[in-house]
Symmetry: C2
Subunit: 577 residues, 2 copies
């Protein structure tokens, strides 16, 4: 994994070259994508211009035996936020790309016409082919077509209709182990940048390649064993996530009064039980789906599943908690099948489910549909796929939708929609939303763990005290973990169990022949955050962009009737490290 | 004119109070609106929230005998730019408001339902009345209705459908001397803020009031006489503008190669002659309209006119140069009647013609219509009035339209569309576009005068040299002039003729009993710009917002094949004063 593949998409015939990764040595995943974007993309360029770059990077441990190492980072200047972006995805591409020897694939330039290209990469090399027959395909049909052309030993990174339309909520779809486009680098419009580059799909086949070999195989194997044992032993990663998936959170967050309901008007949703992880797992099993399933080779948590329709046919993968919330409680909808349908549509069109659900919440506030009207919500999602003017508005995200329809209550930071935790009742995540380099993003520093789940200690979710330090430390740790290719869910075990954390660090050391310690991990995280923040500053961001919308400080959230209490002055200290 | 009227629009019954203007003594027009917005509006508030304020202010000399003193300033935090905004309008309201004794009218708060109100003000006081029968009316029908209700001695400040929809390009319409809603505080979405306040129209009647008396009537009268003489003697204000209106510029700017054509792709338009001021004046006269006409009491330049349709019936006022360009050359359209129709629609719906035309240019680049297709362009404007999803996109301005349709070439600064001068071929105006506190705005520092018209000296339009100083001085002078209520067109004579400038200052001194000199005028301008800039900084603006879109530096503009050459470092020195 010592090469970087650069593909120049135009104009003229696309050209590619591989180069050594020396310039970016020691960086993987988000570390690599952010370093390339910060180092090579003009911060004031238009996100859809030839000057932007789209970087795909497996993590430092991807393509190895290490459990949970299959996360992919996708980076660029974001069409949604205007700042730097790393969107993270599961599925197979990370493992495959790493085994093919690529530390990163960089799409550069853009065609001067609207020709659409497919890229095929295997051990023998790279081909870039114009193929306008792919135009307008959803991700499911597209992958089916690729399977017919390239066989079923492939994986795909692709865009649906939303990416072709260059909509700011467009995702990059990654195929899972069943070769379905169900895993998405969802946030920030990375799919729009892929669309602007004229690339519909990157197909990869790692047939004939080997697992990446560690420098110290014995030590590596031993550390991995301890690591896996730790994951199995922790209640969240060993029991909750496997049994109920991420949607195990619905009841927890709702009970805590932090479940954003009806476009962040209430903190508790009456219909929560009907769409909880527990209900969903039962339904999945009853219909012949799977309630426990992994999204990539090497996953041992297996938080996913398969969701069948009423007739027992595959509809979509098990919808994530964030999706169930976005299309569910946030829109007052408690119909699990309707939510699953929207999840399928989002995956097919290639849309970020969080942004889409938050946008429908704003549209409902604008009066386009009533809260709770599942049929109307499904129709709104379909508009995006059709590319009608209304669909283009919605596909441009919550901030644009709020502007176009004159809505004041729009839950975004840096133009990116907030995920499934109200920052007033989970104030630690509010700090992360406000200050993350990514815009409102729960994964950037998941303070929910310590605010609500008792993981990594306890910090009262309703009070501002302690939230800054909590979010800061989590943002640093997360930036580092996002560089390893490790699934973020390892954090539950890593935060609570020192030996599991040590095993993770040991794996890196054994693999690369390093002597990293905890401080070294933190230093890596700080380095990445600093790069990202500097890019954003050069793109025009200031402390004023590190704020929640004003109404989170003035409107009290039931049932706790709490306002966001962390002051602006405190928010400005998050990056004091 | 010593009172400020504050009307709190809710919730509950609207309440109003008048207070002394002491706190804002010495400020008028833009000086007053910007001082109130900067001093009272939280910079990070949502522009459509109760926290924003909409301020109407006549100038220091409005309501007096002074010629050209009928300009109105309308200020708020802009829904379009997110920064401070002063939009400036002709028509009757400024004179009438000043004679009624109001230095400013401030709309505060917002209703908690969608009731629409009308406000009536005369010498006896103020009434605020809910009137939902006004909903959905265009400005023309609305004014007709107000005339029936209040008689024809009134003037109106109102919003059309666009303002009711809170669209970011919505204007506030001001009636002219014929009680037609043809004068607009166009830029930055001030009409959307009026809509958010639930106010459809402010009707004023100054019957029974007197002209405001100067402290030194003789000196005042004498100065006014010299001032008027100067205006009559200058070629631009005495001949060009009266004869051909602002549209006298079409041939001039086109000849100079700075006429933005087909969404700023070319600098010269083949169809320019067909839509020039010369052609238009001929057409107007031939059809029984007027080619020379004033928009407010006291105007001696009379740059306006009336435009009849083919059957000789009134269609609209003489379209301004910026409008003719926006709906004309910028969209490749050379059909004067089509342009006049769009002008009428814009006035009726209450939309900024510059933003609307620039938006259609972007929509054409996106492929929604062909450049040059006048019928399609008219249909697009009509969509805004109907409030269809497409209309709402377009009514949200060029930046949002570019985002929604994935267009890279979007000619905006601070999200506000550029007016009718390409900044590559008229580099001084490029400096103003980039650095003005208002977003791209030609009136904020009209360097075109010195770049192309030889007024105030000569600075080569194609080169960066001298443009910073030119724009700086003009921005300072303009901020001061915008405080007097004087029409900006006096600047042509004031810049060229020292005695005309002196007469203007003498009028202020004679009226208020002051001893202001040129330095004092400049100090006022600097004070206003500083307030505005500080507001913008608090709202999150940085030097990165003082930039043209990147393509103006990389794409050469025919026929001169010139790029914008003023460096970022130079742009950052504009406010060094």
């Amino acid at each position: 994994m010592d090469k970087i593949l650069r593909i120049n998409m135009g104009p003229g015939a696309p050209a590619f070259k591989t180069e050594s990764r020396d310039k970016y040595a020691g960086l993987g995943g988000r570390g690599l994508t952010s370093a390339i974007v910060a180092g090579e993309v003009p911060p004031l360029c238009h996100p859809l211009s030839a000057d932007n770059k789209l970087v795909f990077a497996p993590g430092l441990l991807s393509g190895t035996l290490a459990a949970m190492s299959g996360r992919l980072s996708v980076g660029c200047k974001s069409p949604l936020t205007g700042g730097i972006k790393e969107a993270n995805s599961g599925g197979m591409p990370s493992q495959v790309m790493a085994r093919l020897g690529y530390a990163g694939i960089v799409l550069e330039g853009k065609p001067d016409d609207d020709t659409l290209y497919k890229i095929f990469i295997n051990k023998d090399g790279v081909t870039v082919t114009p193929d306008n027959s792919l135009k307008g395909l959803g991700n499911y049909d597209l992958v089916e077509k690729m399977k017919q052309e390239f066989g079923d030993a492939i994986c795909c990174m692709s865009i649906g209709q939303a990416g072709e339309m260059k909509l700011a909520s467009a995702s990059v779809a990654c195929t899972d182990m069943e070769l379905r486009p169900t895993r998405h680098a969802g946030r920030g419009g990375v799919g729009a940048v892929m669309g602007a580059k004229g690339v519909k799909v990157i197909v990869m086949d790692d047939t004939g390649t080997e697992m990446r070999p560690p420098k110290d195989p014995e030590k590596f194997k031993a550390a991995n064993k301890i690591f896996v044992k730790g994951l199995k032993e922790h209640a969240v990663t060993g029991q909750g996530l496997p049994a109920y998936g991420t949607n195990v959170l619905t009841n927890v967050v709702n009970e805590a009064g932090g479940y954003p309901t009806n476009n962040f008007l209430y903190g508790r949703f009456k219909g929560a039980a009907a769409i909880s992880g527990e209900t969903m797992a039962e339904l999945e099993t009853a219909r012949g789906g799977k309630a426990t399933h992994g999204c990539h080779r090497g996953c041992v948590i297996r938080c996913s599943g398969t969701y069948m329709d009423k007739d027992g046919h595959y509809l979509t993968k098990q919808p994530e908690y964030e999706t169930v919330w976005a299309h569910g409680g946030n829109c007052g909808i408690d119909d699990m099948d309707a939510i699953a349908q929207m999840d399928r549509l989002d995956d097919d069109f290639g849309i970020d489910t969080i942004e889409m659900g938050a946008t429908i919440g704003v549209a409902m506030e604008a009066g386009l549909a009533a809260f709770g009207d599942a049929d109307a919500a499904i129709q709104l999602v379909k508009e995006v796929g059709k590319g009608t003017p209304l669909g283009r508005i919605l596909g441009s995200g919550a901030a644009v939708t709020g502007k176009v329809f004159g809505v004041e209550r729009v839950p975004v930071v840096k133009n990116q929609a907030m995920p499934a935790y109200d920052p007033r009742a989970v104030q630690g995540i509010g700090v992360t939303y406000a200050t993350s380099t990514m815009g409102a993003d729960h994964t950037a520093g998941y303070a929910v763990a310590t605010n609500l789940l008792g993981v990594g200690g306890n910090v009262d979710p309703l009070k501002p005290e302690g939230q800054i330090e909590l979010s800061r430390n989590l943002q640093i740790a997360t930036a580092a973990i996002d560089s390893t290719g490790m699934c973020l869910f390892i954090a539950f075990a890593v935060l609570d169990q020192p030996e599991t954390f040590a095993a993770m660090v040991d794996m890196i050391n054994a693999f690369y022949g390093l002597n990293l310690d905890g401080d070294g991990v933190a230093a890596l995280g700080k380095k990445i955050l600093t790069m990202e923040r500097e890019f954003n500053e050069q793109a025009g961001f200031t402390s004023k962009d590190d704020r929640l919308p004003a109404y989170f400080q003035t409107e009290a959230l039931p049932p706790h009737n709490v306002r966001f209490g962390v002051t602006d002055q405190e928010l400005d200290t998050v990056y004091n490290f």
